[in-house]
Symmetry: C2
Subunit: 458 residues, 2 copies
């Protein structure tokens, strides 16, 4: 029997992050102001600390990970690479399925990889408090955890629908000393305006971002900054530690680079963190199918245009060149709260545009069916977000069987679902329905961005 877990010692943890920007076939489209001018570091400085702004703009291929960050990451990293032998057997597939188990972090997902790094850089820069938004609470609890360890204050605006339906990660945030409130709230101008217009809104990540940014910028003492859990270059950079570890671990398992790499994609960070360190191999000619998977209810990569758009509903962020459903898009309350974002990381968007990755969308029912197959074979309970990746893994493993090919499939087991059991219960009770975004609604949402500057496509 092969070992089911490939484990690295703490000494083997990667010492540098990998920056895909250095290897992209085309240069990135720069962030713009609403009137089409490039955003300067100064403009961002009320929102982020300068050390992270520099990292955001870096084109260096390798960036050293500070020793203190490594020390904190080693509380739970390197994470195991596991082989899903029982799922393979169940599917009777010749594919060998490996997964990076990010569910083992204290917050239960990959999010602490960047939360710790961001909290550390902010602390280095003299910041005392971080604000942020969260959907299902994976990111908010991860940042609360990191701030607790580093002695920073933390305030989290949580999308109202999740705040009400998923009370547990709120308690996690409280245990780790953070303040968590429902968004839209009456604590910000933006929140009050939205509540006036739509008092019953379930909220959205776009709204919560607006509120968190507003609070950070409003603190004129300079002690508060904002922190984002996905989308931005430096966030994706911090996550590449996952793919770099997986690359070492596959070698130990005696495997070549994977034939297929899969990750679910909301803002894009767990997908990017696993896939980017292998993209350089694809750029250099290796054949790898790289698949970000999103919900049919929020299909930015598969149905949105590549366009400049705001990252938030209040149009406070710079314009980012990305696949987007329009910044005013409020996705339906599906259970994968972490995938309810209107846009997609510019770096992931550029990778897709360049043909380095080929996105796919899956509906909610198929995701829960796949999650059930997973828990009945591999035994663990995946997050609703992660179930999107698993649905695609099953498709790819079945395809390998049809083709009679011994493919190596690698995916990111981005988090556990122990705090999301309500969705499983609804599924088991037959109360969940599919949701595919109607074209009409998409077009209506895209109207909001038609007068913005357009990316120049090379």
């Amino acid at each position: 029997m092969p070992e089911r877990k490939i484990i690295l010692s703490e000494r083997e943890i990667p010492k540098q992050w990998y920056n895909l920007v250095a290897d992209l076939p085309n240069p990135m489209h720069p962030p713009l102001t609403p009137d089409g001018k490039p955003v300067t570091p100064d403009m961002l400085s009320p929102v982020f600390p300068m050390n992270l702004i520099e990292q955001e703009a870096s084109t260096k291929r390798w960036i050293d990970i500070p020793e203190e960050i490594l020390e904190i990451l080693c509380r739970w990293r390197p994470t195991p690479l596991r082989r899903a032998t029982y799922l393979e057997k169940y599917l009777n597939t010749p594919a060998r399925i490996y997964y990076k188990d990010e569910s083992l972090s204290p917050a239960g997902s990959h999010k602490p990889n960047t939360a710790v790094a961001q909290a550390w850089y902010n602390k280095e820069f003299g910041i005392k408090k971080l604000t942020t938004e969260t959907g299902a609470g994976q990111w908010g609890s991860a940042l609360a955890f990191a701030c607790q360890l580093l002695g920073l204050e933390c305030k989290v605006y949580m999308v109202r629908i999740s705040f009400d339906q998923k009370p547990f990660r709120k308690i996690l945030m409280r245990i780790w000393g953070a303040e968590c409130i429902a968004s839209p709230s009456n604590q910000t101008k933006c929140g009050r305006e939205i509540l006036q217009k739509m008092p019953d809104t379930p909220g959205s990540l776009g709204i919560a971002i607006s509120e968190a940014v507003e609070e950070a910028v409003a603190d004129k003492s300079g002690r508060t900054r904002y922190s984002l859990g996905s989308v931005l270059n430096h966030v994706l950079l911090h996550q590449t530690i996952m793919g770099l570890e997986a690359k070492k671990q596959l070698k130990i398992a005696g495997e070549k680079n994977p034939d297929v790499i899969i990750g679910c994609a909301g803002g894009g960070s767990n997908f990017a963190g696993l896939a980017f360190p292998f993209m350089i191999n694809k750029i250099n000619g290796e054949k790898i199918d790289i698949i970000p998977v999103e919900p049919t209810a929020c299909p930015s990569l598969t149905r949105g245009p590549f366009a400049y758009d705001f990252g938030d509903i209040a149009c406070q962020t710079p314009l980012l060149a990305m696949y987007t459903l329009g910044h005013a898009f409020v996705p339906p309350p599906i259970h994968a709260g972490g995938l309810r974002y209107h846009g997609m990381a510019p770096l992931v968007s550029e990778a897709v545009r360049s043909g380095l990755a080929a996105p796919r969308a899956v509906d909610q029912i198929k995701c829960y069916e796949s999650a059930l197959i997973w828990s009945k074979t591999e035994g663990s309970i995946c997050a609703p977000e992660t179930s999107h990746a698993i649905a695609c893994v099953i498709e790819e493993a079945q395809k390998a069987k049809q083709e009679g090919k011994e493919k190596v499939i690698l995916f990111n087991y981005s988090g556990h679902g122990l705090l999301d059991l309500g969705g499983y219960e609804k599924f088991l009770d037959g109360k969940l329905t599919d949701y595919v975004l109607p074209e009409e609604e998409l077009q209506k949402s895209l109207n909001n961005i038609k007068n913005l500057p357009k990316p120049k496509i090379k």
Copy 2:
């Protein structure tokens, strides 16, 4: 910086369980029938399969672990031994604190170690269905998981107070294909009688055991047996894999055997599983403080007499020689549901009686305070049961500081608290109170056992 995790490869998993019975200074008191006669294997055969009955009575020191069981355990075992460097720093103690991280199993606790073994032995014996009881749901979900993997049916009687207050492990059991109902139920004679007398009872493990045993025995086809998650010799035996792994891991860390070993104790299995493999060292003259920790609300080891008593409220089980609060004792609804049992494993009881272990009781508030210190330093969220061990670890680390001694403290991190966050919230809201069992209530409960046979103390 020392490595924080000591990891064994799957090849290094122990291949045999350790049976303390072989090394006890005094022979065990045998299980008796209510009229004082020794229980024969035949009497137990409607309840357990014969292969486990033989294991229950075994006096062999080492018992081979079947290859198929090892293969399933290797889904998550060997578990890491971790060092709590951040707690050490916070306490400014010279003690080195190690913990066996059993929270990493799919069910989130140490329980699957025996669930998998019991399901396997039952399947070997031709059994198709297992019944059991569960408190907070740790054991029920572990058995559901094991039965799912081995293709057995599973029916769980869950203590009503937990069924109502802790709905999440119910969903886990459903995901893993088990049937879970609230106890007392109207599906058994015993349940119906109790519901008639006490329609508002919160239930207890004793009641739920009665119901699960009744259902197993009532199936005259012989395809159903009962499974117990703690207390019995074979259950504790299966758990010794934890201590055996920890012993190897401490050697790798360059440590001698621990000075102090700590585990929370409800039925006794997580404590025993960690401590027993080191007890032989204590029997052979090493100085080790071995401490089972129980709640002040359910203090069988610290305040109960060593006596023969039934394992369940309906007096269906054999009489076991153990520390007990009386089989009719219904503990108050404290949050550590797994520690709400009136008795204690006979093997743990015998170890305490022989001076091999020295029990301690901690109240609920101190436990949650300790859990908060843990999550703020080490970062993870422990189960309410595990917080009892942590409270004692903190006491012992402070004692080591006062004595200026570089002690090695080992404890069992028996499970995570991600499905028990309601208790944390109540604690943070200041809504929890201490509970110390009143002497009067204890004496009243003990009246029920005064006419039972008495153990002959050597």
